[in-house]
């Protein structure tokens, strides 16, 4: 009998003995049907009390590891040794074929260690948030959550937050909607995912801007979409190049990602028309369109959509911070029921605490105050950066026209993208090229400057260093 029982300490004897006997059975060291020592013999052999061995045998018997046959003794149960116990080889679980081919391209961006300034896109300055007001909002949310009835909440989101969002997009983006037209999501990414889930069958065509936002493409591909990159020009996505069979068309009309120009009105109108002809939906990803710096806003694509084909997608990642994980979709009403179903089957609904807090923060006016403050601060940073790009750096780059968002893209002349990024890094400056955002034909070299998290002094210091480096 391959049974080596050892008692290490004088406490937890029952548990120790239980585990060892159980392991011996599961791993096949004690064979099925084998007779175990009597509780009395085992107790004296291990110098433990008979109460201990009795308890262990009873437990093993209750669980089926051991079969008691009265006076004849206790025997190991049948068919208990796991195959893996006998041959401890771990099985290779093979994911679905689609997932084997999803690229590992989304490594977590980590804030550059030791950089004096990192111009990575999509990063905001959370120091400018009024955390005292945010704490009040969270306290309000906790009080509400402590007294909630029932179990699950509405998959569309908390009513307060949906109301606040509907008012906000009505005012800011001319999107006319009621609270129940808003689907709260865990950031814009979940909105893209839900839309793809309900619209795309494996092999269906999805048209995306090229250059474009890689996580949008990846989310579509992960659901089996055939993703077709559609080139952009100075007016935005070239509508005539959208494949006829496209089911979903993904665009960033306020602030093309990554180039920055808004989609022209003519293209907007043509895009809605092209989608309506196909019965396709247009995803308007308005990822940072609330920050606008020149004149009147170009209004949302959704506000031009009389055909009911545009899904407006917004995010609090730029207006608050990305790890808040709050966003929303405003679909045509006909799509809402199926999107709610998809949300419910995916994760039921979003974080209640954050939803309630954000709704309160918005309805109390704190969000509006924060946005105006952020706008002022970001405008100064933008102006400072543009001053450098259009001034001392103009020999090497040219800012793409853009009037919104929290990054500026500059196309390079006479210098290489990777080389410039590498030279800047030697001065502790994090720069980021745009060529990785192209999928179809390769695009021009350029740099995407996210400036929201870099203050004016750091912009000046790092751009000055960059000028010296490029001029050397």
């Amino acid at each position: 009998m391959d049974l080596q029982l050892t008692i290490d300490e004088r406490h937890g004897l029952t548990a120790q003995l239980y585990r060892q006997l159980r392991a011996a059975i599961v791993e096949g060291r004690l064979a099925a049907g084998q007779r175990l020592p009597s509780t009395r013999d085992l107790a004296s052999q291990l110098a433990v009390s008979r109460k201990t061995t009795l308890e262990v045998y009873e437990q093993l018997e209750a669980e089926g590891f051991v079969v008691g046959r009265g006076a004849r003794g206790s025997f190991v149960g049948q068919d208990l040794a796991s195959s893996a116990g006998r041959s401890p080889v771990s099985i290779d679980i093979v994911p679905a074929s689609l997932w084997r081919s999803v690229p590992d391209a989304l490594a977590m961006p980590r804030p550059g260690a030791g950089l004096r300034a990192d111009f990575r896109g999509g990063v905001v300055d959370r120091r400018i948030i009024d955390f005292a007001a945010w704490r009040r909002a969270v306290a309000h949310a906790m009080r509400k959550q402590a007294h909630m009835p029932g179990n699950y909440r509405d998959p569309g989101g908390e009513q307060e937050l949906r109301l606040a969002i509907s008012r906000y997009v009505g005012m800011q983006r001319a999107v006319a909607c009621q609270w129940n037209d808003v689907l709260v999501t865990a950031g814009a990414q979940q909105a893209l995912d839900l839309i793809a889930r309900v619209m795309v069958e494996p092999g269906d065509t999805v048209a995306v801007e090229d250059p474009g936002y890689p996580p949008a493409r990846a989310a579509m591909r992960a659901l089996g979409a055939h993703v077709v990159p559609v080139p952009v020009d100075a007016q935005g996505m070239i509508v005539d190049a959208i494949p006829a069979q496209a089911r979903v068309i993904y665009v960033t009309p306020s602030h093309q990602f990554p180039l920055g120009m808004p989609m022209s009105l003519e293209r907007r109108v043509a895009l809605v028309e092209a989608a309506a002809r196909r019965g396709a939906v247009v995803i308007e990803d308005d990822y940072d369109g609330e920050f606008r710096f020149d004149g009147r806003p170009v209004e949302s694509l959704k506000s031009l959509d009389h055909a009911g084909v545009v899904i407006y997608v917004g995010s609090f990642s730029k207006t608050m911070f990305p790890d808040l994980r709050m966003g929303y979709a405003i679909p045509p009403p006909s799509l809402m029921p199926v999107l709610l179903k998809a949300r419910q089957l995916g994760d039921w609904h979003g974080c209640t605490l954050t939803q309630l807090a954000l709704g309160h923060f918005m309805l109390e006016g704190d969000f509006g105050r924060h946005l105006r403050r952020a706008q002022r601060i970001y405008a100064r940073r933008r102006e400072t950066l543009l001053g450098w790009i259009q001034g001392p750096l103009a020999a090497w780059m040219e800012a793409a026209p853009s009037s919104a968002g929290i990054h500026i893209t500059a196309l390079l002349r006479g210098i290489g993208e990777a080389d410039t990024v590498a030279r800047a890094a030697t001065h502790g400056i994090g720069l980021h090229g745009i060529t990785p955002f192209y999928e179809g034909s390769p695009g021009p070299a350029g740099l995407l400057f996210g400036y929201a998290a870099v203050d004016v002094d750091d912009i000046n210091a790092s751009m000055s260093a960059l000028v010296s480096e490029l001029g050397s």
Copy 2:
């Protein structure tokens, strides 16, 4: 010229005029190429300042709605009227075929209005949570979140929470793992969804217990799975009835949903072996297994898994509350990378605030204290309810054996399920039948009594009323 401009109020003139002209263009009431009145004429016609009309024309021109031709005047731009403007018929967007067939079965359960006691499953008593401790945890989380670097967080979850969960499942469920073996999810539902996404291709077979948990089946179907119900007997899922081609096997071994019995040890061992032979994964949904009432716990299926095929799925919906939306999966290490990718493409990561708060709540010992307290309170409620079922109600029902969880299922004898539910409702008692949980062959009539949210007095009052009603 179909141009009816009206000025309603004396403020916001520019915006009013802008919107009306723009709408007239987009809706085709002002035709492409048509000449607009001069700014001077329009100003005098509407009795507004010329500054106002100039501003509006400039804005419309900047956006391409209007083309200025110097002294010749201002003209409506080309190709701007949307098709829908001309024929305002909303397009019908057709979801993917899969989604057209996903049943609408998951209507939000609403707490029964006017019920004196609702024995709905899955509802907990949030009054027993120490909200002072929870507030401290949330305050801690807010301080951490206010000073976070970077943009997105780890898709696997916050390290503190993953560490706390790994310790918890190690202690409570004998699941040996490190912090980075834990994938934090938005409740167990998201864990099921992510597993289905990475494992299931349309048409793949998924085996689920019958009777079983409808949202699990629906999540699998929504991803194209061919869901095969596998009957259960007193020992749990009948392993020999699992289809040979199953890629995923979903079970509730601690507390079969809805019947309540644990899966026998023999079946557990056979299940792991069957999965290993097929290269299938087993989802162990331990949805309420932490509440145990008789003797020693039956340990988790995962603790028997030497083949690396079991994904342990846990939830805080029963131990805390469902709208917290926190759960976790502990997959075989080989599956973790693809699950992280799926999480990231789906929604990047979970709610940071709640994750940090829950991690702190656990590591500070508050969660353990809460669980012990909940266990004591739920044990009294369970005992009270069992006393009624095994005593005065024994003529009409028999409790299924079970030693864990927060519901008791009783099979009926001599009375009908729907009829009993209806009779109870007349006394303000919410009862819930089990036959809707069967998918294959219809099962016996029974009632699922969720007792966690009903206090002892209400259990006594409502069961007493039920006895009178059934005996009348």
